[in-house]
Symmetry: C3
Subunit: 436 residues, 3 copies
């Protein structure tokens, strides 16, 4: 066998074998074959075209099937969070128990090269509900256009993936925003550079919210900037704002006072509880409310600090205007040395990916410890919603990128005012997370 | 390298590259290899058998994964319709707002070569619900057997895909049928030829309908015929009939009068509205009701006309028998020249597929304008349900086969009788549709 | 062309063609190539690594996509059971009708080689609900660790797949356990040998069960042993036990008597019926209840016998302790000769797989006849829940492994005591099952 023939055979074998996985490598081999005259240009074009829709599997972040040219892909995903909580009661009896915190099924992918879509449904709620349903057009990168239902750009922790938060429940500031709008139908423009991101959009009322009058709407925007961003060292600054007009309540307009309402309230960073320790009740005659938030985060290798302060101003008709605020600060340290991945294009952290997965005789995964303090003050003027301050400690075991076990201890340090004044229970809670 | 060796290598390379996509081509190459004695017959048989289950991706109508021989395939699909509506009120205040009109997840495919299945769930309703769940056996083509839950064969527009209708909402005739039976469990035989289709089946009560007595059942049949069907020119005629016995209401039999009921009512071709402008109320003592419908459609290239007339006769015990009727006529024109694809095997039109997709620096997709007039008369004898007549104008932008933006203007021309007598609002509504 | 070159080409072609399907064969070919010096060791290693993530399709039990090395896979599955029932009434009028008995969507697969996951949702219930959500770790085979929500190990028929039961509804013993716990969140260890299996775990309260106090919990264990297990002849013995503490009801503690409750009740092996002929009502002041069960099954080729006896003991505070028991025995015979597949690692039978699928001009699938008698006695001490005895005859047509049509006739032989004393209707019911 001539050396050329031998070379050719190797090339052909390599082409066949790599074809489904390494798109670029296979393209180059084809090109080489054509240049060396081994295959005709006609064959080359034909083969190249056909290669484009050959399927490949990518397992970086679950099981994604894609065409060879990357122009199409689809991934069916599942996020399951099974929680267990036990309460050291204070004055009132709190019910220990288990729950599916989140139970989601999703389909996401790429189509026609420039479009990405994602739909996700939540089954842990009393009736199944849509969470995400959007398309993103990325032909004008770095400018992206997103249409559908998704998270308005506000708040670093609110925008982090539900599977990636350091603690089992996000800090109290999230509870200020989440009853109002976690996800909403809207249109958003976003962009990013080497050390910044920006996004802004307009949004309707969250799907499924009941209404008797014209629905509410709003706008949100966020910018993030990383003055230091050198591999393992990061300083992150963030700024976001949001305003919303509430849904109008036609049926209650008879007194002349408009009953357009909004309500802020929070569970003590433990979702199994039915009780919300701070609660403004329905605030009536609301004309508009405005959120503002600032973020600061820093990371040195396995150690990270993250904090946010947020404020909401409620402008009302006859009754007094109101201001509530909330903040948290958290410290996290990965015992096994992994840094929290920073997504500079979105200005958020993602979940830890273990350097070594847990596997028989191989590794133990990653371990992380974290501590947090958070506060939410829902008392202002005539509204005695209460002020709550919590301290939380957390241990997380990341067996691999898809499996995580968390244990959290939440101590309600203080509830001042409101219906649960002086209630200071402790919470022990654990979570098994499957995110594949 | 000998020319034969070179040829062989090309053939082998081609075989490898085309294998996952072009089943037939690869089979032919294999055969050539065997005939030329390059590979033994034994190898040939082995290779051929193994090729059968190699995966391929087909992206004609979404992301379908199939085996090389086409005997197996699966596609996970999502249909999302996000609506926005604003009402120019007439007498009563109508609530503007947004909604997910449809939010569906589906799995469909082929198994064991001759069987096709489809299951689809709807999440836009208050609790998630099954829409389609059926298998079709096609080994006796052109005769197909379909079993499970699916749409009974009645009405051209009713049978068109939910993503393919020209207007955001189907015309008023659909509202005559849809409260009664859009989909139902049943068994159907269908067939088709070069210019005709026919289908008939028996059906139980739609799944999920509450009942206190024996459930209703019925039968439906439809025929379509295209006297002219030459590429861009189509004349379509259709005829369908359906009868149903309503579910018995055991709990109300005490007066001797049977309370088996049916109810017809319609929203003004805008789904976000809570109000139904025409409504018969619950018609009692129903023995049987019968639908009949005729269809006429014609297409010359980008211009199409479509119209249907339907009638329902309600046979009752003691109270008077009733007759209601309804019709619509629509004109559609694709500015970019695409014709509406006609599925002669099912006697329906499908959605526009842009000749050129919207893409940066490439094309703008397809644009379509359409106008429609429709009427539904639910007043007969003692029943004053009201008569409604609407006019609608529509613009649709098909960015690509999977993305569509629609804007519709509905003018309620006249509501005569019923609880909403004289109500004549206008509706502005838009839709973002993701169907992948 | 030299014979070596020819051999090589064949090898390469074979490699390409088999690559997506026959992992082992392709690996051996690659090795041969390397050993014969056709490709360098470096190339060999590279090709081998790349082959690992090339996709394959496996259609043994549906449509599964896997990577070449089997380390990753995913399957989207659907289980649809469409039922039709007609009742020959006795004293009270029973409502004939149709229903989706089960309508499920699932995603399951393998990740990181040693982990398997499965999530499944049920849409036939009034609101969509999670059924399975678990991961299994199998690196320590034959010992498996399972975490998440799944079926506690108790009872042979209860643990058989929902699609595989011989009759449309499981026998009355299943109704003793199922209202309490079909699936629950928990952790389980299981193992198996050549003729035995064992499993044990701890479990919380089923997800979604309402609660006002601390949630219940329990433990379950089961062992199976096949003293005879030689191909077509099987003798199976099984033993299982389960205890549970009920959820505490804080809101009703005022009388000093604890109102922690449990309730046992059963439909007459026909699910469309609303009526439950035997029913203990809510049993109050329950401290703990304990299930025990024994199993005996035997199979000679196409003939099989299966029976179980189960007992529950309810330990209460002030009121009397209670004991209820239940049993069934069934005989099944496959007319077409197939034996029920026995899964020795789980100690259960699976559904019939036809030797010849139903296909035009090829075969008719498999036919099975079966008979069963079952009893459930819910009367003890002060509790007059009633005792029911049923006889059932069944015919099943397995068209292929994915499609099944069943017809069952259930005769309620006797209901003694309880609210339905003396009620003895007959049930005719049919099912279309699509499980793909």
């Amino acid at each position: 066998m001539s050396s050329r023939s031998r070379l050719l055979s190797v090339v052909v074998a390599a082409l066949c074998a790599v074809q489904p996985v390494a798109s670029r490598a296979a393209d180059e081999l084809l090109e080489t074959l054509a240049q060396k005259g081994v295959i005709s240009m006609e064959d080359y074009e034909k083969l190249k075209a056909q290669r484009k829709t050959a399927p490949t599997v990518i397992t970086d972040d679950g099981f994604r099937i894609a065409t060879g040219d990357g122009g199409w892909s689809v991934q069916v995903g599942a996020l399951q969070q099974l929680d267990l909580a036990a309460y050291k009661d204070d004055k009132i009896d709190l019910a220990d128990g288990t729950e599916m915190r989140r139970s989601r099924l999703s389909a996401a992918g790429t189509f026609l090269k420039d479009w990405q879509y994602r739909v996700e449904y939540e089954f842990a709620t009393s009736s199944a509900a849509l969470t995400d349903a959007y398309v993103t057009y990325n032909a004008y990168k770095p400018v992206l256009v997103t249409l559908g239902q998704f998270k308005p750009p506000f708040g670093m922790e609110a925008l982090s993936q539900d599977k990636s938060a350091t603690f089992m429940e996000r800090a109290l500031p999230f509870y200020l925003v989440s009853p109002v709008v976690v996800r909403a139908p809207g249109a958003m423009l976003s962009s990013s550079g080497t050390n910044w991101s920006a996004a802004g959009g307009i949004f309707g009322e969250p799907i499924g919210n009941a209404q008797s009058g014209d629905e509410g709407y709003g706008a949100a925007a966020r910018m993030s900037f990383a003055p230091l961003f050198t591999g393992s060292r990061i300083v992150h600054l963030g700024l976001s704002g949001q305003w919303r007009d509430p849904t109008q309540d036609n049926s209650s307009n008879t007194t002349g006072q408009k009953f357009d309402t909004v309500r802020f309230r929070a569970k003590p960073e433990s979702n199994i509880l039915a009780q919300r320790f701070v609660d403004t009740g329905e605030l009536t005659d609301v004309k508009r409310y405005t959120f503002a938030g600032v973020e600061f985060a820093a990371q040195v290798d396995a150690l990270s600090l993250q904090s946010e302060y947020q404020q909401v101003s409620v402008k009302r008709g006859a009754p007094a205007n109101l201001d509530f605020d909330t903040w948290y600060a958290q410290l996290a340290y990965t015992l096994t040395g992994e840094a929290r991945p920073y997504r500079v294009d979105r200005g958020v952290f993602e979940g830890i990916k273990p350097a070594k997965n847990f596997a028989r005789g191989a590794g133990w995964g990653a371990f992380e410890v974290a501590a947090r303090i958070s506060e939410l003050d829902l008392t202002d003027g005539p509204v005695n919603g209460g002020r709550e301050r919590n301290a939380t400690a957390a241990v997380s075991w990341y067996l691999n990128p898809f499996l995580r076990v968390s244990a959290n201890y939440v101590k309600v340090l203080d509830v001042k005012g409101g219906a649960f004044d002086g209630e200071e229970p402790s919470v022990w809670q654990m979570r098994l997370q499957i995110a594949i």
